[in-house]
């Protein structure tokens, strides 16, 4: 049995039913442990004070905002190449989740930026790229909503996702050319000398795991909803013909 057979809608509904509560439970456990640990059991940063603690929401949501788009891209390519309907529906299901993650990252960043940089918003390359990513999500979702025929919608949004990814990467580097940044560099990389301290690092890891699990759980749930909605539509069409 190949892995592709798990993408059969019936099998997908079968294996996601028992998996879903576990994913939600694990996500909730990770988030509760990570956030409580991060908020109450880590020291304040010697320069940033307690504002550093927003990192436990900001970094995981920003990570997931980008990863959600990558997941949509992979799902779109699978749809175009192998035409698995579940794949197209998963891409559709992931888009609003990614949109909300982008919003969370932008808002928490603004809340942190006010005391630290003295401004909620600056036209910094990273902030700007995230705003552009937000616009890409909006366009993608709007295109899904606008087209009636589900297969045409899946095809067109897949093409948009692929072309959009290229332009998103292009914009990411174009804004570097356009303005120098305020945002600090990466401090979570595994190979650099100067990194975040372990005290903050471990609760942050738990939070990231929680966000990843939450994302998976939400996408699975929304994909199940999409499959059910499509079944209802098929039943209605059959009833109208009879």
């Amino acid at each position: 049995m190949s892995m592709w057979e798990y993408a059969n809608p019936k099998l997908f509904m079968g294996w996601t039913r028992p998996v879903l509560p576990w994913t939600f439970g694990l996500a909730a456990a990770c988030l509760v442990i990570g956030l409580v640990w991060g908020f109450f059991f880590t020291p304040d940063d010697f320069r940033q004070g307690s504002t550093v603690k927003i990192i436990y929401l900001h970094v995981p949501s920003a990570l997931m905002a980008i990863n959600a788009w990558i997941m949509m891209l992979v799902a779109s390519i699978i749809w175009v190449v192998r035409r698995h309907h579940v794949s197209a529906l998963a891409a559709r299901a992931a888009a609003p989740v990614g949109l909300v993650m982008t919003l969370i990252a932008l808002f928490t960043g603004g809340i942190w930026g006010q005391p630290m940089w003295g401004t909620y918003w600056a036209w910094d390359p990273r902030l700007t790229s995230f705003l552009i990513l937000f616009l890409f999500y909006l366009g993608y979702i709007a295109l899904w909503e606008a087209i009636e025929d589900p297969d045409t919608a899946a095809d067109l949004t897949s093409v948009l996702c692929m072309v959009g990814s290229i332009f998103a990467i292009l914009s990411r580097y174009a804004v570097l050319f356009w303005n120098q940044g305020l945002h600090q560099g990466a401090t979570l990389s595994l190979d650099k000398e100067e990194n975040i301290s372990d005290v903050f690092w471990f609760p942050l890891l738990v939070c990231i795991a929680g966000f990843v699990l939450l994302f998976i759980a939400l996408v699975l749930m929304r994909t199940r909803t999409e499959i059910r909605a499509r079944r209802i539509r098929a039943l209605e069409a059959r009833a109208r013909r009879a």
């Binding site: 616009l135 606008a146 087209i147 093409v159 290229i166 332009f167 292009l170 174009a174 050319f177």
Partner: protein
């Protein structure tokens, strides 16, 4: 392919509206800006490169939904798809025709409107060059967006929502080239990158456009 290009050009000129409308829109936007921000020459000359680029981008956006909509309605797009000419070639020519009817007049008109915004004298040359290099990319990206929304009845607003984020890199490099020219810096880097975007879009997007047209004609 040449015949298709000439047909589109003739249609644009004779049908009226589309050809001059973009130019008039460009003029109005540029005229409105001083009312909005105040008439100080210094301020205007500082923001002129950006305003001119944003205005030409919006003017190009205005005529996008005409690229395929009429051909789609009267069925000539279906004929094009079944003709021996590859649909990719047709998409390329459509973008080129759109550029000749909107991008090129905008490029020629932009320096004159630069006077209204008291653009720095050194920047005129770079404004002309950057628009000449950059507006074809706007037309090609817009053609792709028009192909995506051709089957929709009210696709105009959606078209802008889809196309505007894709315009970001072109706008950044184009306006940056003019700004560097105005400040007496070397704009070659920005111009080269702008040319790269135009070349890349014309090399790749006809395939994406043709693919979306085939999906929409199914």
């Amino acid at each position: 392919m040449i015949a298709l290009l000439l047909r589109d050009l003739r249609l644009a000129v004779r049908a009226g509206g589309g050809f001059g409308l973009g130019l008039a829109f460009f003029l109005i936007v540029v005229v409105l800006v001083p009312f909005g921000v105040g008439p100080e020459t210094e301020l205007l000359s500082r923001i002129a490169p950006g305003i001119l680029w944003v205005a030409s981008l919006l003017a190009a956006l205005l005529s996008l939904d005409r690229i395929f909509a009429l051909d789609f309605e009267d069925g000539s797009l279906a004929l094009l798809a079944t003709s021996p000419l590859p649909l990719e070639g047709a998409a390329f020519m459509k973008a080129l025709a759109h550029w000749i009817t909107t991008g090129l007049p905008l490029t020629i008109a932009a320096p004159m409107l630069g006077f209204l915004l008291s653009l720095a004298p050194e920047a005129y040359f770079y404004l002309l060059v950057s628009l000449l290099i950059g507006t074809p990319a706007l037309s090609m990206i817009g053609t792709f967006g028009a192909a995506l929304t051709v089957g929709l009845r009210r696709g105009g607003l959606l078209l802008s929502l889809l196309v505007l984020p894709l315009y970001v890199p072109t706008l950044i490099f184009g306006a940056e080239a003019v700004r560097r020219g105005a400040d007496g810096l070397d704009p070659t880097g920005a111009l080269v990158l702008l040319g790269g975007i135009t070349a890349g879009t014309f090399a790749l997007l006809p395939f994406a456009t043709a693919a979306t047209l085939r999906i929409n004609l199914r």
